[in-house]
């Protein structure tokens, strides 16, 4: 199905760009006028995915992060976040709650769990050495114009 509207944004994997990425996605889907909670959910999920690309995907290198946001009928959106970083060897394992390759953080290992619970669907495609794509989907409640 063709999206009703689409935007793509790319930026270097500097942490200063993380809040930019969150707002870019939020500003685009704001045209659907979702609830505050829904928007917060999407922003949190985007943060987790972008942070993963910065921290795990590119490690200390600077690479490019690509985001593709599509708006479909009935408030359905997809957000794809892609890096050309190191990739994930075992995606299934990486997605397990509490699994992390950089332990020590306070909520380490919960990024994918957060994305999964804040969005309706989550798909992760990755190839070791080639990079990672996270595709998230959510249907935002449509405003009841009364």
């Amino acid at each position: 199905m063709k999206p009703l509207n689409e935007m793509k944004v790319q930026f270097s994997s500097r942490s200063v760009n993380e809040s930019f990425a969150r707002v870019a996605v939020a500003a685009f889907i704001a045209q659907l006028d979702p609830t505050l909670d829904e928007l917060a959910d999407v922003k949190t999920a985007v943060s987790e995915a972008v942070t993963n690309s910065i921290v795990h995907g590119y490690k200390n290198d600077i690479g490019v992060i690509y985001i593709d946001v599509k708006i479909y009928e009935n408030g359905r959106i997809t957000v794809a976040i892609r890096d050309r970083g190191c990739g994930i060897e075992d995606v299934r394992k990486a997605m397990e709650p509490m699994f992390t390759t950089s332990p020590g953080g306070e909520r380490a290992g919960l990024g994918f769990t957060v994305m999964q619970s804040f969005m309706d669907k989550l798909r992760v495609r990755s190839r070791s050495g080639y990079g990672t794509t996270v595709i998230m989907e959510k249907t935002l409640s449509q405003r009841q114009d009364s």
């Binding site: 930019f20 707002v23 939020a26 704001a30 006028d33 609830t35 505050l36 409640s141 009841q144």
Partner: protein, 77 residues
């Protein structure tokens, strides 16, 4: 009554458009305050500190009170 209230709340969640306008309104007040205090235009970082909110979020909120610049509207107000 609790149930009715919950019903109203569940069916009347705050929409982003309203929240953005609220933030933009606060931002304009904050700007005035800083202008008076410093005798100059505040930077976005100064506003962000004062409002305890990321710069980018304030930028997005401010957009909600801007009339869309259309081809047929005067740009100087």
């Amino acid at each position: 009554i609790g149930e009715i209230r919950r019903y109203l709340r569940d069916n009347n969640p705050i929409r982003v458009s309203r929240s953005l306008r609220d933030i933009a309104y606060k931002a304009m007040q904050c700007k005035e305050r800083l202008m008076n205090a410093n005798q100059r235009e505040p930077t976005i970082e100064e506003m962000a500190k004062e409002m305890d909110m990321p710069k980018e979020e304030i930028v997005m909120a401010l957009e909600s009170v801007v009339e869309p610049v259309s081809l047929y509207e005067p740009v100087y107000s």
